[in-house]
Amino acid sequence: MDLIRIRNVEKKYKNGVTAIYDLNLAIEKGSFVFVIGGSGSGKSTLIKMLYREEKPTKGQVIVGGLDVAKLKNKKVYKLRRKLGIVFQDYRLLPKQTVFENVAFALECIGERRDIIRTKVLKALEDVGLKNKVHEYPDNLSGGEQQRVAIARAIVNDPKLLLCDEPTGNLDPEKSMEIMKVLESINKMRGTTIIMATHDKEIVNKMKKQVITLKDGHLVKFKQKGTYVE
């Protein structure tokens, strides 16, 4: 079963730059996919179209049965509840504790207090931060902050986890920690993971599916791929 289907998609920004040309893709449920390519190759644009931050100018983007391009602004939240998103810059709330940051995602959608507590603790356990529940983000290392962000992204049990350069601010060692966390989420929870990165080392070590973009064109889509320019 395909979780994501992309057909004849083009993305042209208002300033005239075309970030994606005629893209066709299908991604299976439960897979772990890297999106690689140099800076400006269109990785972030592809990710943004998947969570409907950007709309394709042509073609169809279907995520979990929802036609993203046709989704009205008012209904975008329905898509967002089915996926988790992680960024390079963590995007945590500095005045809230680790627990509160993760709980925030569930409070926003009106979850019950007791369910919030259980789910948040489970998510924090999954990313290995159960002992930092009451810390504030500023007292954590970059790698730990990113794990909080991952916990927040998976706390609502999404089918899909989108990561845009999640290791971009981290040293190789911390980056590998993050990759281990992502791999275990993929295995244990069955979450489909799509991760944009330009980190060769990671891609080559992980041996996952690889989508290679170059100047907005799909160059390759390989199972167990490696990073090739």
Binding site: V76, Y77, R80, R81, R91, L93, C108, G110, R112
Partner: protein
Amino acid sequence: MKPFRMLGRSIRDAVKSVIRNFSLSLASISCITITLIIVAVAIIASLNVQNFTEAIEKDMTIVVFVDNDSDEDDVKEIEKEIKKISNVEKYTYQSKQDVKAKMQEESEVFNTVLNNWNDEESPLKDTFQVKVKKIKRIKQTAEKIEKIDNVAIVRYGEGMVDKMVSAFSSVEKVTYGIVIALVLVTIFLIVNTIKLTISARKREIKIMRLVGASNITIKLPFIIEGMILGLFGSIVPVLIVTYGYLAFYKHFDGYLYSKLVQLIKPEPFIYQVSLVVIGIGILVGMVGSARAVRKYLKI
């Protein structure tokens, strides 16, 4: 249960940010307070004016004086003609003897003066007291009666009420102008207060969008914040309305200038006005915050 949870959260957030942006909130609240005081005074004044102009209008009579040399048949003829006029609600007849008796009863001075006259010399006349249905047409009705044979003079309020009503209405217009200007300034201030709150919570709002908060969930705290500003702004005006009007009413004993100008009884009047004032306050707050949300939240 879920809507209640979300509402609880929104109210909590709203109260927090009223406190966080205290100085700007206070500016908005003060502006709402001033506006509402003027609105309240305007409401109280105009309702009272309406109340006693109605009372005066009910009291308005056309007095028809019959020619001195007319006989009983002539009077009957006049009565018939008055009856025909459609705007006439009812009328009563007083002969000059009735008038004389009434006047003598009223004052000692009249009594002695009037006793010196016999019926022939008396300056008093037979009269009809006519009440009309539509006070606006009282002039035309009076003119019609004047044309009837053997009618000497016709007297009525002669625009006294008209003048009063038009004086009040021009005062009212000026007040409305001030109120509208103040409401606009208030809305502007509220828009800016909420704008500040929104920008202070930009990061949070961004995350809310990412994790799938619905638009209403994102908007609600800001709308509620505006409503809270409106509610706080109506506290002082309500106190002024309640205690101010009570004191005013007591001081004048329920009447202004004369028994004719009767004030509206404080209860339940002050409570109704207070509710209206609170309602307007909350509404103004809501309009301001809704504008800010539409303009700066872009959802």
